[in-house]
């Protein structure tokens, strides 16, 4: 028994003796690596850590407008350098890019980005030879800031030559004069620059046109990757229960404006029963069971992945009073990226509705005070109260509205509501800072098929307390069984600047 305990004691001592150096060496290794990391940054040498692979490292940085890397490519490999300035996103390679063959052996790859007289120039060098040279004119983008991420550092690293290797990506954030509009989300296409290496002739994986998911970073985003989406977040916007909110994250000019209030671009779909609209806002929403959600399954996922021009999704409501089961088909079209189509349907076999109302509300913050008719602009303030119906709505004559682009079977009429206010401070209204209109003048449009049983209505402030009268709400009325969607669109109004 005694010998057994002594042996165990001895072995434990040896274990400690064997592992103590490991702890000490580990700490010292960290210290040496830290010094080395800095020293390598000063050196320009490339260690070919694997002569059968691509080896590459970043070179010391002398001028912020030129980044350089030194690489070694084995003779047996065939790679090319690729460069793009548009379509930069984190879900795939840019669709359009320039390329040049990468010579084998040890060479230097450099990217120069400069701006002169407003022109943005991008030059890719291999050693001192120009292989790609792109210049964009000043109106390509208005931007005061950019960011970049360098994926190859100063440590010589080996990579397989049969896979793409991203080296440097940068994004420009749009601005409007001195105001920065911020950057678009990573999944949207940005203007910027991306430099990468790829095997010769490699077919890149391009980001999808449409997105939709119930989990992950892009959860509850449904629609165009580069355009309008539906973003359901019932818990985040408690006042928007029952509404279908449209967002356009790819359009930075709309970001400031549309974050003031989400009502302008949120649609209330109301079945009309016994002459009255039922309000989806009164449906109680919980995190477990939202008042409205996208119907999603593997078949829908496949449709999202495979669609290239147009996508249809379906939103389902909780049962309305009386057991009415309402669904809304939502349409997204790549050709008109800032709009969403709505087509409501009743799913009950034995119930009926008299029609549908699609309503958006807006507040004075948006300064929407004009309607675009075919030959003129109509001021909301000039509408005669005698022309309003009992509920205070003014019906806009469809035949006086401009004709839109025709994406469906029927001709389209466009109701556009917009502002001519370039500088909101001159309107003379004082409002709390949180309601300050700090964004781009915008235009809200309803695009409807030219059919007899479709109506377009607007409502102005019932009690104007300010010098200018603005829109309070818009409404589209549909028959019980509509066969074409109506479209809601939001656009920035560049030409006012």
């Amino acid at each position: 028994m005694f010998r057994f305990r002594l042996r165990t004691l001895l072995l434990c001592t040896f274990v400690v003796a064997a592992w103590l150096p490991v702890i000490y060496l580990g700490e010292e290794r960290k210290e040496v690596e830290q010094s080395l990391s800095l020293l390598r940054q000063m050196s320009s040498e490339l260690s070919v850590v694997d002569d059968e692979k691509l080896c590459i490292r970043q070179l010391p940085w002398v001028w912020q407008s030129i980044r350089s890397w030194k690489y070694y490519l084995p003779e047996s490999e065939d790679m090319e350098v690729r460069f793009a300035t548009e379509g930069i996103n984190n879900l795939g390679a840019p669709e359009h890019f320039h390329s040049a063959s990468l010579p084998v052996g040890t060479h230097t790859l450099s990217l120069q980005t400069t701006t002169k007289n407003g022109n943005r120039r991008f030059v890719v060098y291999i050693d001192s030879e120009v292989v790609i040279d792109i210049t964009h004119p000043p109106d390509w983008i208005e931007s005061n800031s950019s960011s970049s991420s360098n994926l190859v550092n100063s440590l010589s690293t080996a990579y397989p030559a049969n896979e793409p290797l991203e080296i440097l990506t940068g994004w420009f954030s749009e601005s409007m004069g001195n105001v920065s509009l911020g950057s678009v989300p990573d999944e949207c296409d940005s203007k910027g620059f991306r430099l990468w290496l790829a095997p010769g002739g490699y077919k890149e994986s391009i980001a999808p046109v449409f997105i939709g998911s119930t989990n992950g970073v892009l959860s509850n985003n449904w629609g165009l990757r580069n355009g309008a989406r539906i973003e359901f977040e019932p818990v985040r916007y408690p006042g928007s229960n029952g509404l279908i909110p449209m967002v356009i994250p790819s359009e930075p000019k709309l970001a400031n404006t549309l974050t003031i209030s989400d009502r302008l671009q949120s649609v209330s779909v109301r079945p009309v029963v016994d002459g009255k609209p039922l309000l989806p806002e009164k449906l109680v929403s919980t995190p477990a069971e939202p008042s409205v959600r996208i119907l999603y399954n593997s078949a829908v996922q496949k449709r999202i992945e495979n669609a290239t021009e147009r996508l249809k999704l379906t939103a389902k409501y909780k049962d309305f009073p009386g057991g009415l089961k309402v669904e809304v088909d939502l349409f997204f079209d790549r050709r008109s990226p800032n709009r969403v189509g709505f087509l409501p349907r009743l799913k009950n076999e034995n119930a009926k509705v008299e029609g549908w109302e699609l309503v958006t509300t807006c507040d004075q913050s948006f300064y929407l005070h004009q309607i675009g008719l075919d030959q003129r602009q109509l001021e909301v303030s000039s509408i005669d109260p005698a022309d309003l119906d009992q509920s205070g709505w003014y019906q806009v004559p469809l035949d006086q509205l401009p004709i839109g682009e025709n994406h469906g079977e029927f001709a389209e009429r466009v109701l556009s509501m917009h502002t001519t206010v370039i500088d909101y401070k001159k309107v003379g209204q004082k409002r709390p800072a949180k309601n300050n209109y700090g964004g781009q003048p915008i235009e809200q449009r309803w695009i409807v098929p030219e059919q007899k049983d479709i109506g377009l209505f607007i409502q102005k402030q019932s009690k104007p307390t300010q010098p200018t009268v603005f829109l309070d709400a818009t409404k589209v009325t549909l028959p019980a069984d509509p066969d074409e969607p109506v479209w809601l669109q939001i656009e920035p109004r560049d030409y006012l600047r």
Partner: protein
């Protein structure tokens, strides 16, 4: 009683062998890394930090720095810099009229600041004067940040031969500074003064760049304007 080897003994034996193996691997790996570090330190010099609360600057040779393509000619100063804990780095670049010594200046200047860094850190600073397609650029990079100043039209020179390039540090020379001090990392100017101040200081067309803690920037500005003769707590130690 038979002396059987139980499972406990096996486990402990495996731990001993794996510990020894791991030590051997780490030792060989560390030897390799140390060799590389020694080689690079022989080339770029060492930073000997005796007082962790002071700033240490060593100038390293810059012929390893390859001028990028598109740059016709250039002159580079490169430094290893040790910054003590709680040092909020600030750099001031003067790009119009500067004195031959000190911080006196008149005209264009720019500054950039970084957030206060809780831990001490070592970094690299690179200053360069570059000729790019006929334009003269003065560039400064340090710890991920960078700035570029374009030569004004009034700076008329065609080559480096026309300039007096000041070397605040010799290559391989290390100096230590109080964290309250302002450190000149590079200075270059035309040889003839462009004007003289009221108190008799000659000012020359040129560039200079200074490194300091953000808290010392207001003292630096007073020094640059001639309100004080030196930074309040200046005192460099040359090693």
């Amino acid at each position: 009683m038979k002396d059987r080897i139980g499972w406990g003994t096996w486990v402990l034996s495996i731990l001993i062998v794996s510990g020894l193996g791991r030590s051997l691997y780490l030792s060989m790996d560390l030897r390799e890394l140390s060799r590389e570090r020694d080689r690079l330190e022989a080339e770029f010099g060492k930073l000997d930090i005796e007082d962790p609360d002071r700033v240490y600057v060593t100038r390293v040779k810059s012929d390893a720095v390859e001028l990028p393509p598109g740059v016709q000619s250039g002159y580079v100063w490169q430094y290893r810099v040790y910054l003590p804990a709680n040092y909020a780095r600030c750099t001031v670049t003067n790009n119009h009229l500067i004195a031959a010594e000190g911080a006196r200046r008149r005209g264009g200047n720019s500054s950039s600041s970084s957030a206060l860094r809780g831990d001490a850190a070592e970094t690299i600073a690179t200053v360069a004067i570059l000729n790019v397609e006929g334009d003269w650029l003065f560039t400064f990079t340090m710890g991920g940040g960078a700035s570029t100043t374009r030569l004004r039209n009034s700076h008329s020179f065609d080559s480096f031969d026309d300039l007096l390039i000041d070397e605040p540090f010799k290559i391989g020379q290390q100096k230590s500074f109080s964290p309250d001090d302002a450190i000149c990392l590079a200075r270059l100017r035309l040889p003839e003064p462009a004007e003289t101040t009221k108190d008799g200081v000659d000012l020359y067309l040129g560039f200079s760049v200074f490194l300091m803690d953000t808290n010392s920037q207001s003292d630096f500005e007073r020094w640059a304007k001639g309100e004080i003769l030196a930074m309040p707590s200046s005192g460099e130690d040359t090693q």
